[in-house]
Amino acid sequence: MRKVSKIVTVVIFIFLYLPMIVLAVASFSKGSDIAVFRGFTFGQYKALFDDHVLLPLLLNSIIVALASSLLSTILGTAAAMGIHRMGKRARRLAMGVTNIPLTNPEIVTGVSLALLFAFIGSMLKIKNVLGLVTLLIAHITFNLPYVILSVMPKLRQMDPNLTEAALDLGCTPIQAFFKVVIHEIMPGIISGALMAFTMSLDDFVISYFVYGPTFVTLPVEIYNYTKKPLHPKIYALFTLLFIVILLIMVLMNVLQAKDDKRRLRNAPIRKKVRQ
């Protein structure tokens, strides 16, 4: 059984990375057909850096991802602190609301927000209500649950005595938060923010329903492109993006490893303090 599942695992990993290999190989191909390799070239990468359409769109995506992950991290961390302190009933309700965007199909979230924005637009008599602001609102909305769900466990793990100790030693609640609590839950905040960032950067379905012609992100443009033939420099762009995301992931891993080590080191001391 062990052997069989090992073989399955290897095959599955190959299966998961096969399309990425196809894209990476296509980025070095001279032809424009992804399915046929016509000789090695760096030409697509050169074309990519001379490009004036794709890079601004990537920048748009990064702007939305940065702004929405930052705002949802702040809002979500505050929310997690609040929910953590709630009574059982209120907490259940709040977590229920948090689960709505997670369980709802993306297309329904997208459609519902599109209808809301259309409604607001007709109320305020604005013609083109869709744009950067609507994209940001949508992205913050679907990012928030991820932040909350990664901060909550850290709050639960945290020793509640720490906050009280800080307060006893004369901290105001705000000082206690910035001097003590935030350090304890930082790994959760960081992983929530990174998750929000990557989700937002790659989001297509929801963005597709709430973007406007004034502000287009890269995934939406790729969808519009795929109705026409794709320019191979897109493969070059994504090969580079793959490397960037790989680096972010490795960084996340290292941070997590450090946190685990710290926890292991601190654990015996805390026990002693409690005795």
Binding site: A35, T103, P105, V111, L115, L116, D202, L218, Y223
Partner: protein, 270 residues
Amino acid sequence: MKNRFLAGPYLIWMALFTIIPLVIVLYFALTDSVTGRFTLANIVQMKDYLPIFLRSIWLAAISSVICLILGYPVAWCIAQTGPKTQRFLYMLVMLPMCISFLLRTLAWVAMLEDTGMINTALSYLHIGPLPLIRTNGAVILGMVYNYLPYMIMPLYTVIIKIDPRLVEAAQDLGCDHAQVFGKVTLPLSVPGIVSGITMVFVPAVSTFYISQKLGSSGTTLIGDVIESQFKTAYNPNLGAAMSLVLMILIFICIGLMNRFTGDDDEVMTL
């Protein structure tokens, strides 16, 4: 301390941008597109789309089962390795999800096309060309490929938490490998299985890109119809009615699934 009120802005935000939009969907679903009066016509019209609904559910259900069968051994295998390898392999599972799923699906198109890589390779062996693309099989492949990580992650989270002493106890009491798996490991992984199936089924049943690229007009899914109501056919009322039905369907499925786990107190395995 009034710490609870920190959640206030969040709850207001969610009310504005999650609850109210859903109410608007309900409103659109129950009104006429021209007169704006209350009507059930949009809901009644659903019956024309019944085959598409059934096809979506069927393909998504098959994909979920395949994901479970393929994902379980992978999750189990990752859980058996050392902590450092575990973290690395887990990252490898998550990584593909961060790359544009549009492009990854397009790469599959390039492989499955009639003149694509697989058929070209087969032609050297004097086989084919096989009809790979524009079939139900291709759509299922696309779903399994895109959502398999969503299955592996919750399964892994649950398997890693199984107390190894339980497995040892079962072995001491005379269970062979298959019995240990059937009586201990598998029952204890049920929460992960439920959460994994939900996480695969929901996006699969509502997808529209995969079926457009890998399927044909014969594999239209409910997501395709909703998308076209908003983007090309401009009948948001019908689209809203479909979204509503889809949402209710999914909540019923999740409700049924959660019965298996019983305890649903904040168990979110991401």
